[in-house]
Subunit: 397 residues, 4 copies
Amino acid sequence: MEKVLLLYSGGLDTSVMAKWIQENLKKEVVTLTLNIGNSNLDEIKEKAISLGVSDAIVEDVKNEFAEKYIKKEIYADGFYGDYPLSTAIARPLMAEKAVKYAEEYGCSTIAHGSTGKGNDQVRFEVTIKALNNNIDVIAPVRDWNMNRPDEIAYAKSHGINITYGGKYSVDENLWGRSIEGSNLEKLTNPVEDDVYEWVTPPKNAPDIETELSLEFKNGIPSAINGVHYSLKEITERLNKIAGENGIGFINHIENRVTGIKSHEIYECPAAVLILKAHKIFESLILNKNEADIKNYMDFQWSNNVYNGLWYDPVMEHINAFEQSINKYIEGEIKLGLYKGNISLKTIDSEYSLYDYDTVSYDNSIFKQDSAKGFIDIYKNNTVLGSAARKKTLKVIE
Amino acid sequence: MEKVLLLYSGGLDTSVMAKWIQENLKKEVVTLTLNIGNSNLDEIKEKAISLGVSDAIVEDVKNEFAEKYIKKEIYADGFYGDYPLSTAIARPLMAEKAVKYAEEYGCSTIAHGSTGKGNDQVRFEVTIKALNNNIDVIAPVRDWNMNRPDEIAYAKSHGINITYGGKYSVDENLWGRSIEGSNLEKLTNPVEDDVYEWVTPPKNAPDIETELSLEFKNGIPSAINGVHYSLKEITERLNKIAGENGIGFINHIENRVTGIKSHEIYECPAAVLILKAHKIFESLILNKNEADIKNYMDFQWSNNVYNGLWYDPVMEHINAFEQSINKYIEGEIKLGLYKGNISLKTIDSEYSLYDYDTVSYDNSIFKQDSAKGFIDIYKNNTVLGSAARKKTLKVIE
Amino acid sequence: MEKVLLLYSGGLDTSVMAKWIQENLKKEVVTLTLNIGNSNLDEIKEKAISLGVSDAIVEDVKNEFAEKYIKKEIYADGFYGDYPLSTAIARPLMAEKAVKYAEEYGCSTIAHGSTGKGNDQVRFEVTIKALNNNIDVIAPVRDWNMNRPDEIAYAKSHGINITYGGKYSVDENLWGRSIEGSNLEKLTNPVEDDVYEWVTPPKNAPDIETELSLEFKNGIPSAINGVHYSLKEITERLNKIAGENGIGFINHIENRVTGIKSHEIYECPAAVLILKAHKIFESLILNKNEADIKNYMDFQWSNNVYNGLWYDPVMEHINAFEQSINKYIEGEIKLGLYKGNISLKTIDSEYSLYDYDTVSYDNSIFKQDSAKGFIDIYKNNTVLGSAARKKTLKVIE
Amino acid sequence: MEKVLLLYSGGLDTSVMAKWIQENLKKEVVTLTLNIGNSNLDEIKEKAISLGVSDAIVEDVKNEFAEKYIKKEIYADGFYGDYPLSTAIARPLMAEKAVKYAEEYGCSTIAHGSTGKGNDQVRFEVTIKALNNNIDVIAPVRDWNMNRPDEIAYAKSHGINITYGGKYSVDENLWGRSIEGSNLEKLTNPVEDDVYEWVTPPKNAPDIETELSLEFKNGIPSAINGVHYSLKEITERLNKIAGENGIGFINHIENRVTGIKSHEIYECPAAVLILKAHKIFESLILNKNEADIKNYMDFQWSNNVYNGLWYDPVMEHINAFEQSINKYIEGEIKLGLYKGNISLKTIDSEYSLYDYDTVSYDNSIFKQDSAKGFIDIYKNNTVLGSAARKKTLKVIE
């Protein structure tokens, strides 16, 4: 019998799928559940088995997620608008694992639970096909237009234990929490407080500043207040510290890869804090040429990742650029966290381009009398252009 | 006798220059003082006359500054890093007026008070030369290496009334306040509270949210809480409201056009608030193609303005692009201001691309069953590329 | 009875469709035939009527094509790789006319003859939907997988007069001729001489140089050898003159919007010549800032047009930029045409930034002694960056 | 006595300098002469010694030039407009060697022969300072305004053997020959045939096509017609073969780093041929994402190199990107060379993305019926944007 590998979360959608695929497609189901955040793998595995699947694979990939995915995002200052791509960078990891286990368990098809309007279907399918173009992909929610009432009826009639989700549609991993749906779909409604979970709303956050020191090494944070941790641990700790201080709440309107606008809420305390610190280091360490080109490359990186192209050939080259530049992003930064604000206290780096002596007066490195000559040549491009245009009457206000 | 037009602020530097040019260059001095923010024109004029200048021109240009300069910056979401270019956009206006009056009063030379390490000398001189390449420019502080002790001695011996500046070197106009120097030059010192003037530090700001509605018309704000004002008035009012709520304080490291890094503090409450609102409107109104290209053009606009190229020929074309796109930036936005945080409450626009019906399920505009075909073609570029590379052993991790 | 507007070329595909839609879809057919190049409208109209269509609209749009489409491409130096987008810019005009007549004749559907692998289906359908989202679009060749043998059988059995095309699949309009298919699909075969029609292969072109003078006005050519013509006439004349001299043959590999590579041959003598002249004018007239930003905008323009986005909202703004810059592209250029080579003889423009006096020695505008100061400041960004990196051991070769 | 290292070509300028520095600056002179093209090192060394210098260093760096500089340019498709940066990439090599020998021979100053209007002074001085900021740089032609008549008089009175240059100012190396000055400075004069030296004017080139096969390996050519050579040898051979066939003549208007326009003639037969072949390989091997980002990076690379920033920190990262992408540029290409034309015959690569089966009809990889769904989603961004704008009256033609 043919086998389908199902990316299984334990929720209603994928539980119905597990049964439905066996019953209607007459195929064996192998479930794969990855812990990228707070999943209870034992519980989910048990539930999968109760649905009659032939294998229920579970794996904790939090460390791998930090070392292979989050790291590259910090390198590239990954933001899509205000969104630090938290869900977006987990999808290729899930797809990569799905392909790996599908090959191992002899599954010819991978099933995922995404709908037809969103980005995740694109991220899953492009990645799976890039890694193994011979594997088929199905997305039952989309392809057979499953809807919630039908799913609930099906679950009840098949003895599937229903875990109702909350009011919103939520996705979580180490790098952030995304919230969609319900009242959020009306832009004429203010966001309600019940969307907050990881972040304390600024008004409820402590009325005292928390000071924090971060050490960066090779482009990523390596220590908090002098104590070294793995990137995974740093992310976990900063999610807590920054979240408590009202940091990392994002409320923005997004251009989906499917060409429509959506309203998205994210809670990404660690991501927002780490990326902010990384950016400040760059302002200290990179020269203008580096900063400008990195700005372009980061934009490409983020667009590609958002749009599901983690495994596009171009990413190898962009990452080569990012790695080359990030080896200089090192040093120590002190930040103040207060009710949603991150403020720079002090910063230092052995690669700093900031030079106190150059900035303060009366020194010999910066020759002020060169400035006149500098401007005299620097102006040519503008002045010659401007002069040529003024010869005629065409210049408009 | 030849005449020099001096950009005169009433401070120590330019007061010494007024006298010095008469005494040492044996030229008549015409002073020009512009009110772009809070200058007391009567007082400064009186002081200029007391220095023996032949004419003391004063002009209030706040409205012109708003309508011709601030407007274009809002169009272009002008930011250089975190800095809304407040000083940078006032310099070309000053240079433009200086050229106009120099021509009118028959001055062959323009004198300004900038030093040799900064951006302003570049902004003044490129603009002056672009507008009239026959006018000479002198910058006594730079060209004759005037320093503070010498200036004070000169002032005392020539009966010039010395108005000591504060601890920091400050520049102010309608669009913002910039603070440099003193302890700020040490990055290993935290910024002290005495730099704050326009912005109430978040910890001291009211512990209650201020709600605010802004109407945008043709790319710029036209009303606050339903009451229409000129752009100048809106800016003044928002400087107050946003500043009181801890908004608009900027602490960043900057790449000067002269190739060095500097540490700059800015207070730009209205600018930060208006540009944030403008950006949110763009996220609602512009499609992805427009947003991406505008992102590039805004970057060019800001770099050029920062680098003194307001009158470079290219700016005419960039502004044509920005004007074309901004005519659609219209609507109403409600924001919450609280201790340094700006949060989106509601937003609406007749040009909104956000469609509730498309986002919510079960509708006919977005066809979910098209998604499978979409991904099947969309993936080709990535999958074919990926497949070709895997044929060989060169692919690296 | 519902009506279908069919974009009708008179060839096999669309002739079969005309009949097939009546017979199988039970709908009335209105044909639309546009002359954008060398179509014989009378003959095609007659053939359409013989197929039983209810209306056979014909229109000569060559002039409109030149004034609304070709002009914008010259502004934007439109190239996709080596290809001057000849077919690509005709598709939105065809779609625009199709929508106009569909609305006028009450057709609820538009039918076109494109296949499912190419760009033209995308260009037609995006444009139609952007102009009127309520019109349905069908592409019988693609949607019902019509193939040539079936079409021929169908034509024979329905008394449709078959005009066999040549060996290649060809599309022609005023701006160029595109050739696909047959042996061209094997990259390991050299291109055969029988693809040439508009261009004389260089080896057969005259062994003597043809000199030509072109006048540009407002960004586009306005006269040849001193005689003024419309843009349409200039294009026709230059197709002949340049083609005879071996100019305008393009052989390249292309990235289709559908994500696959194709091998394309184009003959675009006038386009290649005009765009070359336009580029040379730009090198004379635009300063570096303008040239660099125009380079980016042109790239976006071409990508969008190639990808079917002529009516995307962003194009309004890009065209505003292009129009702003092109009003300065004026002057006279003399070129030599010889066996595929275009060589610059002389060039002049009232907006020229080239200044003989500045370039030749011993003059006062360019001050050589400013250069030392210029370099001293200009170097800072690089030298400070370089110095900071050398402090440590990380610098790699 | 202090020592000056003089970049010595053996020509009038630098011969006069050699003597002048000893006589007027009272410093020892060490000359450095590099063979990057066709210099006769023995002869020049003898001449240097005759001028009384304390050391006359000579080195053949042609191979190093190819392996460290030309290679990187091929990677980056280096072009500044139509110019393959031939002189520009030799300057940093000369500066690098000058610094190396200055350090070795204890010279505190480096002297070069560039003038004050050009690019080379910038390239020399930025590179020298980036490598060793403690070395002083002098450029006597610029700094003391040496002019030709004075130099000739000085040479005669000091017994310096004068080798008159030709009509033009010429610079040559392995990668190309640049020609400036004389009649070329008038754009209203056609270029005369006496500028041609490496390239046979097309009208005089053989009236028969030369076929050529090139093998590329790791981004650079490795074999001609099946015979392997070093990059230096390939460049030398292709200069001859391509030059004889009228290829590599460049006549363009250039934006100098000093902000002025100049008219430049170049002869770069090998460069033009190799870069053309490299570009064709890219069109076969890179996907659209890679091609677009490489296009941007190449542009940055070329601008930086033209502007003297070979050793700017950003170049390390750009080169990392370029190296990453170039490892796939491999394969065999056959080209026809005929009177200035390069035509593609055949091309093949193990990394080719061109797939005959996908392009030809009736196969299973490209699913034509996915196209309808593709366009239906792909259109959203444009159609939604277009629809929102049409709701109102603001849309302009």
